[in-house]
Symmetry: C2
Subunit: 309 residues, 2 copies
């Protein structure tokens, strides 16, 4: 989605507020998977096959870890490790996650400004059926999200401060775009950071979401199952109802055209458009729809857009 937006808007006008609930400490390193995936993707360095990590990366360190019988289900490539080493080293020196994120973004030549939702640790934790609670990466990577979830919470969220610039970006942006991402574990943590939900609610009419559910299924990841397991409908209409307090408009895929009335009944403007971003062109076309939708209701001055995650 961000790639699509930066194809149609000056990247310098885009601020991305990124989920850090997926962050983890592994082998002493601070890993920020969402920040890194965005950085690698926007800079063209990402591995297009896996969807994570860097293209052409090697796994010598992980292979050597096998010697110790250490868990290696979280695969860190050798060049990818450098990002985590740099981030951890800088944070040990006292730098905030925001500051390091700006440095890493600069090193990768990003035009978009990336902001972690908070510099304070917020950790998404999932209670699995059977009462065991696990960290997000345990659920998502180790267990391959193939287990039923009974509850989700965002540890530390209530004490977290929005990172510098987050509230200003969400307040001042011409349009806030909520990316087609998992509403529960990707959008949810951002909404859980104090004052973020209030800011969005206050400007709800120019907050535009794209449904991550198409024809009842998540395009990627477990959003459909998670929604259903937590009592929501796994459909574009379910997403609309989930986001209704903070989102004034939603783009749903043409496959879900029949749900438009249901979406409008939830109090959102509904745009039906091709929403599967198979190509850069499709992403750019979707970005135009999204921005157009926000603009129909929003103040026309300014051009910045914030999105999360």
């Amino acid at each position: 989605m961000l790639a699509g937006l930066q194809a149609v808007v000056d990247p310098g006008e885009i601020v991305a507020v990124v989920n850090t609930g997926d962050d983890a400490e592994l082998y002493g390193l601070h890993i920020s998977p969402d920040l890194d995936t965005i950085t690698y993707t926007l800079s063209g360095a990402s591995n297009p096959v896996t969807g994570w990590g860097l293209a052409g990366d090697t796994f010598r360190a992980m292979e050597a870890l096998d010697r110790f019988g250490a868990p290696t289900w979280f695969r860190l490539g050798d060049a990818d490790l450098a990002t985590h080493l740099y981030r951890t080293g800088r944070m040990d020196e006292g730098a905030t996650l925001s500051e390091v994120t700006a440095e890493i973004s600069r090193a990768f030549g990003l035009g978009v400004r990336l902001l972690p939702m908070s510099d304070d640790p917020v950790r998404t934790r999932l209670r699995l059926r059977g009462a065991e609670e696990v960290a997000f990466q345990d659920y998502f990577v180790r267990l391959r999200h193939s287990v039923a979830v009974e509850d989700v919470r965002f540890e530390g969220a209530e004490r977290a401060e929005p990172a510098p610039g987050v509230l200003a970006a969400l307040t001042d942006a011409e349009i806030v775009v909520v990316a087609p991402s998992n509403p529960v574990v990707s959008i949810g943590p951002i909404l859980a950071v104090p004052r973020v939900a209030d800011v969005l609610e206050a400007r709800r009419e120019t907050v535009v979401a794209v449904s991550p559910i198409v024809a009842g299924a998540a395009l990627k990841g477990p959003a459909d199952r998670l929604l259903a397991e937590l009592g929501h409908e796994a459909s574009a209409a379910g997403v609309a109802r989930f986001l209704a307090p903070w989102v004034g408009a939603i783009v749903i895929d043409e496959a879900d055209g029949g749900l438009a009335d249901e979406v409008r009944a939830a109090g959102l403007r509904c745009l039906v458009a091709p929403s599967i971003m198979k190509t850069p062109e499709a992403a750019a076309a979707l970005a135009r729809v999204v921005l157009g939708s926000g603009r129909t209701a929003g103040p026309p001055d300014g051009a910045s857009a914030a999105k999360g995650p």
Copy 2:
């Protein structure tokens, strides 16, 4: 020296008490260069060209760190990184350095038992001429020890506890071998750990050193310059006087035969023997001399030897 000892004594009878004053935190990782160099060397995995790191290692992570403009003077190979990642991860889980060292030793199939001198942080710091104080790796690696040193201290040593097993090994060993290592910054930190010096002093007659200075020069590293800069004589006799309170015998190289009387005047037994370990055979021969020397004065029961570092 340890390789030589394990060639002539059952490795299971050898305990190595290892300097951790060179340890460093880099990029958030706990690096123990002396423990790792010993582990890699004894297991045959070390890089014989550089004298540090693993043979055949790659440097993808370090190359990728360049992107961030981060200092990369401390070269960590990709497979070597796994050791530091494992150690740091385990210590974050609450394991002590001793425990992790045992696990890493086991993973590398070591027969010798490695003990860090302490599980508590002790950090060798050097005040350079001109009053700047730097950490050991700054001095040794970044500055390539080509700067004059005015003072050395072992930060944290006075509060450090000897690691479990250290005092027992140094007390119970048939012979304690002080390896031909830098007396100031490699032997010194071990002696600075509370009670270690007392234990050695009490059994001084069966503590045998090998001089790291041959014909007035260090075989490796800056031992000669450091000794001179800190007011000691950079000679085998100077080493003997430095170690005299804790060491009852010293092996000096044949090139230094003329110093034997001077060494004896310092109160040590003096053995003159080839001490440059160019080959495994030379190392084993030297080990036999060392053990024989200790045995001439020591109790003949037991067969364990402790050495440091």
